[in-house]
């Protein structure tokens, strides 16, 4: 029973919905609520990125670029163009999708490490534009982001953003589960295992890679917009190389190809800096060690390895 339940991608969505609903009751302060909201925001990126890396098997070291597009959309739209924040959020997500569509066509022809370096270059280009065009973006110091106002209600503070991010994460995980269980999801997994066989079976490989790329870009852009509005501030580091690496690390540590894994990975990397403050100067040594040790002992990522251990997955 347990085994069957955990095989269904929807089980994760259900568990997630319950956790998101109950968690605030257990959190003692606004600080914890903020951390929980951050986990939801980053988990949203990773759930999307997992479709690309975990399912379609295409590595991207540049998704912070899309994260940045979302973040700057809600900053630039209202500030410079007079677009209401909620519309800027939607336009930002669409813009990220369109950019991913245009860039993805040529980039996704590359394989493996070549794709990695191309996406990395793409992400850097966005970061450079955000840092250099200071008339629009405020330069390296960044720019303030106006509050989201919905139906006359000003969205601010950890409580509001926890619920917005939490609900969006549940929806995002649900959509990911839908995709995974659909012909599109089967096509993506097929491409991951053998592009050649997938082609021969009539799968338009380029199209599906592009779908995964665009979807993951939209996830990242929405999350970026949320973080910018939550912090009330956006800086170019939102789209920096280190952010991209952080996203991939979250996905890999948690477990590629597992939606729950992505969420656990995001939680781990958001919590670690908070937990590791006890090490003071040795914080970074500890962080590096955790990354190495996790990958050595559970190379498939935390969640898939744990699931195997507990016998929830068929061998």
């Amino acid at each position: 029973m347990m085994r069957r339940f955990f095989d269904s991608p929807y089980a994760v969505v259900l568990v997630l919905a319950i956790v998101v609903a109950v968690l605030p009751l257990l959190l003692p302060s606004l600080f914890y609520l903020r951390v929980a909201a951050l986990i939801c925001i980053f988990a949203l990126v990773v759930v999307g990125l997992n479709l690309l890396i975990g399912f379609a098997g295409q590595v991207s070291l540049g998704h912070a670029g899309f994260f940045g597009i979302g973040a700057y959309a809600v900053a630039i739209g209202p500030t410079h163009l007079g677009i209401p924040p909620w519309l800027a959020l939607i336009l930002g997500a669409i813009a990220a999708g369109v950019v991913a569509f245009l860039v993805g066509r040529p980039i996704l022809r590359l394989r493996g490490h070549y794709l990695a370096v191309a996406t990395l270059g793409m992400g850097l280009l966005f970061a450079m534009v955000f840092a250099n065009e200071s008339a629009w973006t405020g330069g390296p110091d960044g720019m303030p982001v106006p509050r989201l106002v919905l139906f006359g209600w000003r969205m601010s503070g950890p409580w509001t953003w926890y619920w917005i991010a939490g609900v969006t994460l549940v929806i995002g995980a649900w959509i990911a589960a839908n995709v995974i269980a659909s012909p599109t999801g089967r096509a993506l997994r097929a491409i991951h295992d053998s592009e050649t066989a997938a082609q021969v079976l009539g799968i338009d490989v380029a199209r599906y890679k592009l779908i995964a790329f665009v979807l993951s870009a939209v996830y990242a852009a929405v999350a970026g917009a949320y973080l910018a509005m939550f912090d009330g501030l956006v800086t170019p580091e939102a789209s920096g190389f280190l952010r991209s690496i952080e996203f991939v690390t979250m996905a890999v540590l948690g477990g590629l190809g597992s939606t729950l894994g992505g969420i656990v990975g995001a939680a781990l990397l958001v919590l670690l800096p908070q937990l590791l403050t006890v090490f003071h100067d040795y914080e970074h040594i500890a962080l590096g060690l955790v990354m190495i040790v996790v990958m050595i002992f559970v190379p498939a990522g935390i969640v898939p390895s744990l699931a195997n251990l507990l016998g929830w997955r068929k061998s």
Partner: protein, 260 residues
């Protein structure tokens, strides 16, 4: 009108010519074998015909339509499917999922519907799954439908690839050494499966080293050596062809000849 027509096909890699002027036709319901010593160019021929490599010369036609140079997924949509000598199974997916991927072309591919799992998607998943189970039964793999493909034995994987290829409902099926690595019992099963498929009107092109199998089930045999056609005909004709014997004996000695 031939199901598959190959005309004057040629390809090379760098300075090395791998195929020169290879031509043949395959008809509906026919089992057409391609044999030759190692390095004769059999798998290369498959790769060109199925669109993985673009040919340097020559044409490929499916049902009289010129399909030369089309990408593999477009060929698949015109009824061409294949298996692989060095298995290209989706190892991380279950056996049933492998076959379900084969149904891809016959499924509705509206991504927006997939995002929100409209009822039609659920219904379609059910239909696809049922079809996959049917095909797994056909190749006698029903009992492992939900096992991860990576954990299945070799012989089962060969049959799984066939079931997956059949899921596309091909008119032409290229089988690249379907019996390689199989024991006599498994070979026997594959032999049956191939004949059953041909009986449904599918044109089958077979590359196989197991001469016993080839001689037994092929209607016609095409012999390649160093990328050139050296003979074509029925099993009886090919067996007695001097160039064929020379090609095999010259390079591989008695063993292959004895098998033939």
């Amino acid at each position: 009108m031939s199901r598959l027509a190959v005309e004057g096909l040629g390809i090379g890699f760098g300075g090395v010519t791998a195929l020169t002027d290879v031509s043949f036709n395959v008809e509906a319901g026919e089992i057409f074998a391609i044999i030759g010593p190692n390095g004769a160019g059999k798998t290369t021929l498959f790769n060109v015909v199925s669109g993985l490599y673009p040919p340097r010369q020559g044409r490929v036609r499916i049902n009289d339509e010129d399909v030369t140079g089309l990408p593999p997924f477009k060929l698949a949509r015109r009824g061409l499917s294949r298996t692989f000598q060095n298995l290209q199974v989706f190892f991380r997916m279950s056996a049933a999922d492998n076959v379900m991927v084969g149904r891809h072309m016959h499924e509705k591919r509206n991504v927006l519907a997939h995002l929100f799992t409209l009822p039609s998607v659920l219904e379609q998943n059910r239909v696809t799954r049922a079809k996959a189970e049917e095909l797994l039964a056909f190749v006698d793999l029903s009992d492992v439908a939900d096992r991860t493909a990576g954990n299945l034995p070799y012989g089962a994987l060969r049959r799984l690839e066939i079931a997956r290829a059949l899921a596309t409902e091909p008119q032409i099926l290229l089988l690249d050494e379907p019996a390689a690595g199989c024991n006599p019992v498994e070979t026997e099963e594959i032999d049956n499966v191939i004949q059953k498929i041909a009986a449904t009107g599918v044109a089958i092109v077979l590359v196989e080293h197991d001469m016993k199998l080839v001689m037994k089930i092929s209607h016609r045999i095409h012999v390649l050596d160093q990328g050139h056609t050296i003979a074509q005909g029925t099993a009886g004709e090919v067996r007695t062809n001097e160039r064929v014997i020379a090609a095999y004996l010259g390079r591989h000695g008695q063993r292959e000849a004895a098998r033939a």
